[in-house]
Symmetry: C2
Subunit: 341 residues, 2 copies
């Protein structure tokens, strides 16, 4: 049996006793077809188990109904949330998703883009793996629309969607200030890293508006252990005798991990949280879990994915004359028992 191949439109047409043109029109609905032939074609199609060959169609239409998604290979919950929402969004437009991972390495990144262009994807969504390196990859895309998500590399024409960092910090500072904080210490941000410096400055800026002082603790690492060490230093420095506390009245941690470490130590050493010190985190590491032990900021990855798709579809539709758009999404403040009610 050599009929293993999929039936073609010609097969359908023959079976229905019409031309391929009519068969095509009947199936796509691009042009009106008489009810009679319409029915015949549909029947023939069904009885043969015909499925349109997307490859041929793409070649003819110069459009693949496909978008490429390029992600750095951090195995985090964030990125899988992003993948899912992008996949979802595309599905609504009957588009497919081709996925590629990139190392933080120039050539590989570039190859990914090239390969996607070779496949003639209609658009690309990329989370730039490296801020120094990805620009030219992105620009290599040329006429095909690109949307950056999460991270952001300055380019001429690409849209981007990211977190509204200022909003994030101001939400958190406001939350603490509203609950009586007057002296905030930042834990787990590295004053030698550009991105972290920006965050610290942003915290200080909003702090100033609320009359709250914000300073950064020495960097001890942005993981659980770093939180533990930072908290132990705090306790040895500020906890005097029993229940006395001359330290900051609020701690802002880089993420939930750090906050967990901090919380564990403070409580173990008898420092009341949130009574004496409030603790909050800038980044929810496990959006799945709904334990409200720490007040934290949930980054809107699913929403970012949706927005990226929206921008991309729009850009695809609109052709080449566009202006770069940047959309920033606010994080969600998830109150927990580490700050006052």
């Amino acid at each position: 049996m050599d009929t293993a191949d999929q039936p073609t439109l010609a097969d359908v047409a023959e079976r229905a006793g019409v031309s391929v043109a009519t068969a095509s029109r009947a199936l796509t609905g691009a042009r009106p077809v008489s009810d009679d032939l319409q029915r015949k074609v549909r029947e023939a199609s069904k009885s043969l188990g015909y499925r349109r060959n997307t490859v041929a169609s793409s070649l003819r239409l110069q459009r693949t109904e496909t978008v490429g998604l390029v992600l750095p290979r951090y195995t985090t919950t964030f990125l899988s949330a992003l993948i899912e929402s992008v996949s979802d969004g595309l599905e609504h437009h009957d588009m497919s998703l081709v996925l590629r991972y990139s190392e933080p390495d120039a050539v590989h990144d570039r190859e990914n883009i090239e390969s996607l262009i070779g496949r003639r994807v209609d658009g690309i969504i990329i989370c730039p793996p490296s801020l120094e390196v990805s620009r030219e990859s992105i620009e290599a895309a040329g006429a095909i629309p690109v949307v950056q998500v999460g991270r952001f590399v300055e380019t001429d024409r690409s849209d981007s969607v990211g977190l509204d960092e200022d909003r994030a910090t101001s939400m958190l500072v406001a939350h603490l200030a509203d609950r009586g904080a007057g002296r905030i210490l930042v834990v787990g941000l590295d004053a030698d890293a550009t991105a972290d410096v920006r965050r610290i400055r942003a915290l200080q800026a909003t702090g100033a508006l609320r009359g709250v002082s914000v300073s950064a603790a020495e960097f001890t690492g942005a993981v659980l252990d770093g939180g533990i060490r930072a908290a132990e230093r705090l306790v040895s420095e500020y906890a005097s005798g029993d229940d006395g506390w001359s330290g900051p009245d609020a701690l802002v941690c880089a993420n939930d991990d750090v906050a967990s470490g901090v919380l564990a130590v403070l409580r173990m050493r008898g420092v009341a949280v949130p009574g004496t010190v409030q603790v909050a985190s800038l980044l929810d590491l496990a959006p799945g879990r709904e334990d409200h032990s720490t007040t934290t900021l949930r980054h809107p990855w699913p929403e970012m994915g949706r927005e990226a798709v929206r921008l991309l579809i729009d850009a695809i539709g609109r052709g080449s004359d566009r202006v770069a758009r940047r959309v920033s999404l606010a994080p969600q403040l998830v109150p927990g028992s580490s700050t006052r009610p």
Copy 2:
């Protein structure tokens, strides 16, 4: 400027002063081309920024160098590990990955497959979202090779790769028995669910070989809270006075979450772990984290992805005369402080 289009092979050929055939041969290396023309074509190609149109190529070759990956939409770390490893594996073969999520719903599942067939993917890797529903979807793939991964639906021709469940349970029981356990209680498995019943039976079977009794606690849920409740019942039932314990000397939990709950309660109530009772988990929920607080089994998702790709590539190469292969991978035992050294 209407030259926004990508250059075609014809453009390259013209620029190099050769026929398209020669240009094609020079670039693909399918047939020998004189050094001189070889060079000319390469140059022309580079200077024009030519990139082979994969769509046209696929149509001609009847091969897309693409595989579809269909996943249920559980946002777990497991699946992202799977995606990554599949993506990796495919990359080694210069193949692309098109990703689709499926609901546990028949029509949607079927549509995914149909869409992939329409795109003429060379193969499909699928984690069946529902054991009842996916069979016909899989069989709809017809001539194109399918590999199931993680879950397994009985079909005629599809390969599959999964966890070696028997091996998993026996590893865990052996680990506990080697450390003196003689009476194991299973926590967090549901004696009313088929899959769980099989696990319980498997535990009992290996227990019998080692002279260890295995019974299952009443099902209180397979999450943290379930572990807590189960442990509290145990304590109230078996903890007599101070430090007396007449209960099981080992607990096997459905997953790390349950184990965490159990551990917290036991330690809080003064039951020594692993001194009096050892605790282990059947499923490592956060393979990323390296906290060794619980002895647990790490499921080999990355390896499963690799294996799935291997099977698929092989099946694609081999054509239609194949026999269904099933490969089972052993989990990795990660010792932690909840069992004895």
